[in-house]
Amino acid sequence: MTGHLHKDDFGAKLGMWLFLFTELLLFGGLFLLYAVYLKRYPHEFAAGGTQLNWIMGTANTAILLTSSLSAAMAVTAVQRGELKRTVALLGGTVLCAACFMVIKYFEWSAKIGHGIYPGSEHLKAGAPGESVFFSLYYISTGIHGLHVMIGAALLTWIGVKVRSGEVNADNYILLENGALYWHLVDLIWIFIFPLYYLVL
């Protein structure tokens, strides 16, 4: 406990965790809505779930888990001073993020092509619960996708700093925090995946 304005790695990490809590609660609001509407429309939700492409969902889950692995390994690498490897691992994470977004793109465009999007005629005509399901699906995955992009940008920026040596074995809190953020993105998806794709 000191009043100095010197570097406080633990303080920075504490701040990051606090911020992650807010992200958790943000998605928490959506999960709250999901829970309520699942209770009200179990059948419509099951019907909606079967229309989602579980193979793409599973693939994306695996991709995100892998990206998380490489982000975690990047932290280990930087702690060990293996800067080249750190950059490569971060690159891996960002690559995974890109794959994730590409798959997401195909998924969304397929659904939209079938006339399933918020406010579409198809959904207006269908059962009420189904429209709720898909709106929640689009909003949840949409905001999650936004987080994927922000996270990828963040990690890219950090990667540049690793290369320039600004982030190194003695000063890697930035990378640690970036990785924390990335893991949160993964965490959210761990819940989105079964709730939307597998509730059959």
């Binding site: 304005l5 701040g15 911020f19 609660l25």
Partner: protein
């Protein structure tokens, strides 16, 4: 002008000039917590004046039944903007942003907050959000007319510019979250040597509790606002009953944030009062631990009671019971505080200077507001007064009589410290007296009107309510007169008044041990704390 131009640094070098930088950029890009504190102070206070002006217009319209000065659409827009400005642009960021930033780091012996640049970003986000809110008034379909609660389905249908306003509030919410993150980290990490949790001044304790509410509740508001935008822009239909949505779920989400938010508003105010009363009684605060604990208890229990805004909404009766019960639980820690404040006066040596007058009237006004909250918390009685002017009276008592009066107390108590000059005492007391009486005439009358059944958000009313509405409007003018006198006197004093040096109030917490005004990094030497914040032994006055 040159001779009596503002010379803030009556005693030489201070944060006003010691960095050698001047001009607007030395403020809006500064990471010094005191400069950011002043940015917040002037911007939130500016919005307060805007809000107050709108409130005054509302009262003029309600002076007599029928159309007085505006049509219904204008009136609806006005109370919406009045509510949004007061809540999101003044009262939530106000005390933490202004006085939290100014005082809290010094109180714990730190040179700045944990993340100074994030702090600056918070202010920028706040300003950007505020500008977006203001833009929404003059663009698109015009000023939003939904009330500050943005209830669906009305808010998803109205042609006014709700989406943009909601987006602005979203940004402001983000700023609030960052302030919360910053303050919790600061209080955990940057306490100086000897500043144990049991020696933290109660103002800082209250900010700590507040910051947690900001962190844990504000994200729910953020997602709620995103959903309102989704309803309007992509037609998500999540709250649209014709497509399976449930409008009452919107209310849940909204109040999950907005009830805890009322404690974001009041807790820092209570902290200010807990700091001022001991100083002007020259006695340690009574029950330090209970007051600190009750701040945390209010923050915790306050997160569980949101349903009391929805007793008539068609929510289940079981939920009515649970939320009514929890509402009463949260009244207890508030009662603890009130009793402890009053006991602090016992056998003290009380000086009735302006900060103390505001602090004492806070206790009364907050008690009236809080006790009327008990009427609202009981299921049977809330049904009658819900959505009437009784509720309007209730929340003005707690928000204006509570938080804003505490804000005024803090202005008289701390601002001289940062300016090195002070206001004149007599006019301050006169202003206080006018405000106190005008306030009660205005809002007590509103509560009576509510008991008689006058609904809120009514542009026009039945003739039977006419007399009391006129009384209330007259009260608002008395209040306004007091406010103007207070402001003129205060700012005249701060800019051109007599010097305020050393520790004239005789405070014992750390902010009174640094030079007046403080230098940029507050402490020349890192302080070591050896006694509590209310230990007045050896403090001269």
């Amino acid at each position: 002008m040159a001779s009596n131009a503002p010379v803030h640094h009556a005693t030489g070098s201070s944060f006003w000039n010691d960095t050698g930088k001047t001009g607007i950029t030395s403020w809006i890009f500064s990471t010094d917590h005191k400069r950011i504190g002043f940015l917040y102070f002037y911007s939130t206070f500016g919005f307060f004046l805007v809000g107050v002006l709108l409130g005054l217009l509302l009262r003029i319209e309600l002076m007599a039944p029928g159309r007085t000065i505006m049509g219904p659409q204008t009136y609806n827009a006005l109370f919406t903007v009045h509510g949004v400005v007061m809540i999101f642009l003044f009262i939530i960021p106000g005390i933490p942003g202004a006085f939290g930033n100014l005082v809290m780091p010094i109180q714990i012996g730190a040179r700045d907050v944990a993340f100074p640049r994030l702090n600056l970003l918070s202010w920028w986000l706040y300003i950007i959000g505020a500008v977006i809110v203001l833009t929404s008034l003059f663009s698109g379909g015009g000023a939003p007319d939904t009330g500050w609660t943005f209830y669906v389905p009305f808010s998803s249908r109205t042609g006014t510019n709700v989406s943009l306003a909601v987006f602005g509030v979203f940004i402001v919410g983000f700023s609030s979250i960052l302030t919360g993150v910053n303050f919790v980290t600061t209080i955990h990490r940057l306490r100086t040597e000897g500043m144990s949790w049991g020696r933290i001044p109660l103002f800082t304790w209250s900010l700590y509790a507040t910051a947690w509410v900001q962190i844990l509740a504000t994200p729910i508001l953020a997602i709620t606002l995103v959903l309102v935008m989704a309803e309007r822009i992509i037609g998500a239909g999540l709250f649209d009953p014709t497509r399976g949505g449930d409008p009452v779920m919107y209310q849940h989400l909204f109040w999950i944030y907005s009830h805890p938010a009322v404690y974001i508003m009041i807790l820092p105010a209570m902290g200010i009062i807990s700091d001022i009363i001991p100083v002007f009684s020259r006695k340690p605060i009574f029950g330090y631990k209970m007051i600190a604990f009750s701040s945390v208890a209010i923050a915790a229990a306050g997160s569980l009671v949101w349903g009391h805004h929805m007793f008539t909404s068609g929510m289940s009766d079981t939920a009515v019971m649970v939320f009514s019960f929890l509402t009463f639980v949260v009244a207890i820690p508030s009662a603890i505080k009130v009793f402890n404040w009053v006991s602090t006066l016992y056998k003290g040596s009380i000086s009735l200077e302006a900060p103390m007058l505001f602090a004492l009237s806070f206790i009364l006004l907050f008690s009236i507001g809080g006790l009327s909250g008990l009427i609202l918390g009981a299921a049977a009685t809330d049904i009658h007064v819900h959505d009437t002017h009784f509720v309007v009276g209730h929340f003005h008592y707690v928000m204006f009589g509570g938080t804003a009066f505490a804000f005024f107390a803090a202005m008289h108590y701390w601002l001289p410290k940062f300016y090195g000059r002070r206001y004149a005492e007599k006019p301050a007391v006169v202003a206080w007296a006018l405000m106190f009486s005008g306030f009660n005439i205005l809002y007590f009358t509103m509560q009576v009107l509510g008991m008689q059944g006058m609904p809120r958000r009514y542009y026009d009313y039945l003739p039977e309510f006419a007399n009391l509405n006129l009384v209330a409007t007259i009260g608002s003018w008395i209040l306004a007169a007091g406010l103007v006198i207070m402001l003129v006197n205060l700012f005249r004093g701060l800019w051109w008044g007599v010097p305020f040096e050393g520790n004239p109030w005789g405070g014992a917490s750390l902010e009174w041990s640094v030079p007046t005004p403080p230098p940029t990094e507050n402490f020349i030497e890192e302080p070591v704390v050896t006694h509590g914040p209310y230990d007045f032994n050896g403090v001269e006055r």
